[in-house]
């Protein structure tokens, strides 16, 4: 493929892990070419019927400039053969809808198809359908809700009309299991029923997570504890009623009236090893259902064995109070965001006993990355920051974000992101925004 242009050219070998491999061959590419020309070249070489846009990675960095500028920046001579990996490029996200809330949205979940769940600082759990209608709005907690998750059952996708089980965590020191029944008829409102209150923590609960089978949930709290619970609804209070002094019984009674139906539930196990606030806890992917990952303000990421309730591995960073954590789809890499404005990637496959584990890389942010979500592919990650910008990253290129978009004109904080089925739910100061972001071309097909 000799080029006809007169400018200088450099030899390039294309590699890929996508479904569009090129024969291994050295190409002489004019150095003034950019991503677009390279993408056209690959498309032509493959003679694809439908053009597929590609992005190009050189030495783990996405090519944003022309080849010559990249070479000049990195000090690579033009004679050197460059190995360029191409990946299908992510399309720029498009804003779908904007659902304002009365209060800040602290948590958003897109796991129920067709609906968005939001937990807000006013303590109300809301469910919206895709046409922005409020399906359900229930006061779940008397204090701000910090985390919402759906307790998935294996057959929830097929079973329409069956009530969903939703777990909420709040600053009122408790977590709840709420049964949410969504109507098939759009004109009706959904119903919710608090099934159980999870009583363990003595400080605000930060996160709640469920495993894939929907049999267990996890809660983490400021009191350094992680609670493991099963999802069976108790028939009676498993926690004794605390002794209420004579004088504030009246106050108690007022609270009790709203939750007389819910039963108090005791944890199945308590995971105790963190030395500071636990900010996020999550179950491992399907391959490792018994592993639990948690991160906290003590700058550690911990791996737990649920069966035995022990901490199997501790990844210590220095002065990185972690805010959020997420696992890649293959469960190999943990990404954890911290207040030092980075998202750090850790490889958790190596089960070494040493406490020091080097990070695979870190994604720098200009503001605190409050939340992050990983897509279904093992390479893509979305992070929301306090600067109101949601960034999409490719884990193979850690230097800069692949693409980013501003929510609420970039003035309000993003507190939570969720990314399921090509939809990004962004919850924060301004309410909820939904963006369409395809993880890759295959995901959208």
């Amino acid at each position: 493929m000799a080029s006809t242009s007169t400018g200088p050219s450099c030899p390039i070998i294309f590699t890929t892990q996508t479904a569009y491999p090129l024969p291994t061959q050295k190409y002489l590419i004019p150095t003034n070419w950019k991503r677009f020309q390279l993408s056209q070249l690959v498309n032509k070489a493959l003679s694809l019927s439908k053009p597929v846009p590609f992005d190009f990675l050189i030495r783990g960095e996405v090519l944003r400039t022309s080849l010559a500028e990249w070479c000049a920046e990195n000090g690579v001579g033009e004679e050197e053969t460059l190995e360029v990996e191409y990946i299908e490029s992510a399309l720029p996200p498009q804003k779908m809808t904007d659902i304002p809330h009365e209060d800040w949205v602290s948590s958003v979940s897109c796991s129920i198809q067709g609906y968005f769940l939001t937990g807000s600082y006013d303590g109300i759990l809301r469910v919206f359908d895709y046409s922005k209608n409020v399906v359900l709005s229930t006061l779940a907690h008397s204090a701000p809700i910090t985390s919402v998750c759906t307790v998935s059952s294996p057959d929830d996708a097929v079973n329409e009309g069956k009530p969903y089980l939703v777990a909420t965590a709040s600053q009122d020191l408790s977590a709840q299991l709420v049964e949410v029944s969504l109507p098939i008829d759009l004109s009706k409102q959904g119903e919710s029923r608090t099934l159980a209150k999870l009583h363990l923590h003595t400080a605000p609960v930060t996160s709640v997570a469920s495993d894939h089978s929907g049999s267990h949930i996890l809660t983490s709290s400021w009191d350094m504890l992680i609670g493991l619970w099963d999802t069976s609804i108790p028939t009676s209070d498993e926690v004794p009623e605390p002794l209420v002094a004579e004088r504030d019984r009246k106050r108690r009674r007022k609270l009790d009236a709203s939750e007389n139906k819910s039963k108090k539930k005791a944890p199945k196990a308590v995971l105790k090893s963190h030395t500071a606030r636990v900010s996020r806890v999550t179950f491992g992917r399907e391959a490792r259902p018994n592993t639990v990952y948690s991160c906290g303000f003590d700058s550690t990421v911990r791996l737990w064995d649920v069966e035995n309730g022990v901490c199997t591995q501790t990844i210590s960073a220095s002065e990185k109070p972690f805010l959020d954590l997420s696992l890649t789809a293959d469960g190999n890499i943990v990404a954890a965001s911290s207040t030092d404005r980075t998202i750090t990637l850790y490889d958790v496959r190596t089960n070494n006993s040493s406490n020091i584990s080097s990070s695979l890389g870190s994604l720098p942010h200009p503001a605190t990355p409050s939340s992050l979500a990983l897509g279904s592919t093992p390479h893509h990650l979305i992070s929301g920051g306090y600067d109101g910008v949601v960034r999409m990253w490719d884990l193979r290129s850690t230097k800069s974000a692949m693409t980013s978009f501003k929510t609420w004109d970039g003035h309000k904080k993003v507190l939570s992101v969720d990314w399921k089925r090509g939809l990004v739910g962004v919850g924060g100061e301004g309410g909820l925004e939904v963006w369409k972001a395809t993880e890759d071309t295959r995901g959208s097909q």
Partner: protein, 766 residues
């Protein structure tokens, strides 16, 4: 003696007269003599001498003593004769003597030279000598019977020389023998002419050799004397007396010397002693002096090719370069001339820059250092302060994580002991509780009037904070407390069994609302200060959380009250305080109490009820103060932009003062001091705080900035505290001349919360 001298003088005079008259004759004689010699050859030698003798006799007869002298000289002459014969020969040909005669025409004396006869022999230089060997060393003929060859090639035989006896007899018999000299050329004795003898005599007597020279010529009266008197003298003044009267003072001085010589005080010809002799020094062999030799003058720059009248082509400026050079300022020019090419050297014009160049050269010489400066042997690297890099001192707050906005000026903030919550109070009476990491307000209280101070109780088992509003202190409980903590808080603030009221009634009233009306919105405990005491603008807790001190701007007793929560009792620690109390602080470990007035910080021992020491920061108006968690160090900030660091163990004077521009001295580990200039706050300091865990402290100022310092305190008493400026945090606006009013650290993390005058409260994260 005098008579003798006169005699000789007279004699000489006559002799000169003689000479004058007989000069011409003598000269002729010489000519003749030489002729005679040449003609007569060797045989007529003695006769010639004889004949010439009377001429000499005239002179030599005059003095006997002279006669003897010349006799002695004769021997020497004989000895010399052999070496320097040619000179003698030349002496024979004396230049013709001139003659002074009175001219017939003018009547004036005139000098007349003898006539030169224009014949062949008139020039004596061409005269033929009998011996024609020429100018050769005559000792070549020593062993030969002849001494050379004449014109015809015949050998000139050596004249017969008698032996020593003959010589002696000759001297006895021949009266002219002593005036003859040996002539090598002819190998015979020749009588000296009278001129020669006279010359010898003159030389011998150290007289002027030239007989013609008269040292005693009669004076020629040009301007004086008869008929030549000056008619108009230059000055009409009569001639002073001293012109002709011998000086009396000179005479006295001379007499003084004469008397000294007579008495032996002055020895005229003193023998030269060793010391009196001039000393000589071998100046080149000695080593040089201790100081360095003077520097050589700077050398002028050597001319370059460009300065040539015919420079190479590449030196010639193009028109563009020429224009640029002309546009440039003269002092900016790289060189002060433009190379110019002339076709030949004679077309080179005069050097117009000569004066300027000389002037510059003089200036160079004048300005050149005369003393060699001794170079300091200091490694420049060592002068650079060995600062720990800020990166090595991480963590410290570096960026603004979030901002919480109050509608009005927020003057006070407090961070909960667990470092998760922030309470802030503004001028409109709003108190907000919000999460430090999210910045979301979860609760709001409303009071009438300004909020002057907020301070969280440091207890871990109970959780409440104190808000100082007008004339009162309110204890508020944050929501969502765990049951145990809530109970403990209730027990503390509103115990079921109230402690007994103290005997002496206190002007401070403690009040708790009845339990039925308890809500989250109202304070559980209110401490009413005596009316008129004003806004409590400072509240400080004891570390155990039982005692609390409050400072009001107005009121008596300096406005200081110490409240004990468990006993529900307030007391004024000071009956009378000098000055306005600004701040109070409890010592973190000891029962000590710091009180800052406008200019002094006093340290009291509360258990012993006495003053321990008075610290003098030298600040005009103290604005803020904090004590290090170790309790040994105190920082005090003032409205006059100064910060003083006190080492309480060390001195009453500040260990270090940070000013607007301060010199920073650092004592490193190797005891090497280094310093640099540091720009501190340019406006009044408003707030200071030490971090409870990390070695950090922060100061905020009205210039809208917060400065974060690393302040490491060593347990070792010998090591000075290390203070390193880390970061200047900018992000607050300045409103009404007020900047950042308060800074507070998050207790568990190196995070900083700052309240600005624009109502914004910023959280700075690491």
């Amino acid at each position: 003696m005098v008579a003798d001298a006169q005699l000789t003088k007279k004699r000489k005079q006559s002799h000169y007269d003689d000479d004058n008259t007989s000069t011409f004759k003598d000269a002729v004689d010489i000519e003749m003599l030489s002729e005679e010699e040449g003609d007569e050859g060797d045989d007529g030698l003695y006769d010639g001498e004889y004949e010439n003798f009377p001429g000499i006799d005239v002179e030599s007869d005059e003095e006997d003593s002279e006669f003897e002298d010349i006799e002695g000289e004769e021997d020497r002459n004989d000895d010399e004769e052999e070496d320097s014969q040619d000179t003698d020969i030349e002496n024979h040909h004396v230049f013709p003597q001139a003659k002074d005669i009175i001219s017939d025409i003018t009547g004036q004396p005139k000098r007349v030279f003898p006539e030169i006869e224009p014949d062949y022999d008139s020039d004596s230089s061409t005269e033929d000598a009998p011996n024609r060997v020429g100018n050769i060393p005559m000792h070549w003929y020593d062993d030969l019977p002849h001494v050379g060859y004449d014109m015809d090639g015949k050998s000139v035989l050596k004249p017969a020389r008698g032996d020593e006896l003959d010589k002696f007899l000759e001297t006895v018999e021949d009266p002219t023998a002593w005036t003859s000299a040996f002539d090598k050329n002819t190998q015979s004795d020749k009588p000296l002419t009278s001129e020669e003898l006279d010359l010898i005599r003159r030389l011998y007597e150290n007289e002027v050799p030239d007989a013609e020279y008269d040292p005693y010529e009669p004076t020629t009266e040009w301007f004086t004397g008869k008929g030549k008197e000056e008619v108009m003298p230059l000055s009409a003044a009569p001639e002073p007396k001293r012109r002709w009267i011998p000086s009396k003072w000179e005479k006295k001085k001379v007499m003084k010397i004469v008397r000294a010589i007579r008495q032996g005080r002055i020895v005229p010809n003193k023998p030269k002693t060793a010391t009196a002799r001039p000393q000589f020094y071998a100046i080149w062999s000695e080593t040089s002096a201790s100081y360095a030799p003077p520097l050589p003058a700077p050398k002028p720059a050597l001319p370059t090719n460009a300065e040539s009248y015919n420079p190479p082509e590449e030196y010639l400026p193009t028109a563009e370069e020429r224009r640029k050079w002309e546009e440039m300022e003269p002092e900016d020019r790289e060189r002060d001339y433009l190379p110019h090419k002339y076709p030949s050297l004679r077309l080179v014009p005069g050097y117009d820059r000569f004066i300027k160049e000389r002037f510059n050269r003089q200036l160079d010489l004048y300005m050149a250092p005369r003393v060699q400066r001794v170079k300091l042997n200091i490694d420049p690297e060592s002068l650079i302060p060995k600062l720990p890099s800020p990166n090595s001192l991480k963590p410290f707050p570096t960026y603004r994580s979030l901002r919480f906005q109050h509608p009005d000026l927020a003057r006070c903030i407090s961070v909960s002991p667990d470092g998760a919550w922030v309470v802030s109070g503004d001028e409109k009476g709003t108190v907000s509780l919000w999460e430090i990491i999210v910045g979301r307000e979860v609760k709001r209280w409303k009071f009438g009037g300004k909020i002057g101070a907020i301070q969280w109780c440091p207890r871990n088992d109970a959780n409440y904070f104190v808000v100082g509003s007008e004339d009162a202190l309110h204890c508020l409980v944050p929501p969502n407390l765990p049951q145990t903590v809530y109970q403990a808080t209730l027990e503390t603030l509103a115990p079921t069994n109230l402690p007994p009221t103290p005997e002496t009634p206190s002007p401070v009233k403690w009040s708790t609302p009845v339990s039925n009306s308890w809500t989250d919105e109202t304070p559980l405990l209110t401490i009413r200060l005596p009316s008129g005491s004003g806004l409590p603008n400072h509240v400080a807790w004891h570390r155990k959380g039982d005692y609390m001190a409050s400072v009001c701007t107005g009121g008596s007793q300096g406005g200081v009250w110490i409240h004990q929560i468990s006993r529900r009792h307030s007391q004024a620690p000071f009956k009378k305080v000098k000055g306005n109390v600004q701040l109070v602080l409890f010592h973190p470990l000891k029962p000590h109490f710091f009180v800052a007035t406008q200019q002094y910080v006093r340290m009291y021992n509360l258990s012993e009820q006495k003053l321990l020491k008075t610290l003098i920061p030298g600040i005009k108006w103290i604005s803020s103060m904090d004590v290090h968690p170790s309790g040994d160090h105190l920082i005090v900030g003032g409205y006059d932009r100064k910060l003083c660091w006190f080492d309480l163990e060390l001195s009453d004077k500040p260990y270090k003062i940070l000013r607007c521009v301060s010199v920073f001295f650092l004592c490193g580990t190797n005891n090497q001091s280094s310093f640099w200039l540091y720009r501190y706050h340019s406006r009044a300091i408003r707030s200071l705080q030490f971090h409870p865990i990390y070695p950090l402290f922060a100061s905020s100022s009205d210039d809208g900035t917060i400065q974060v310092f690393h302040a490491r305190v060593y347990n070792d008493l010998m090591t000075d505290p290390l203070i390193v400026p880390l970061k200047i945090l900018r992000g607050h606006g300045v409103a009404n001349g007020l900047g950042v009013l308060q800074v507070k650290w998050c207790s568990k993390h190196p995070w900083l919360v700052s309240a600005g005058a624009d109502g914004g409260i910023n959280v700075w994260c690491s």
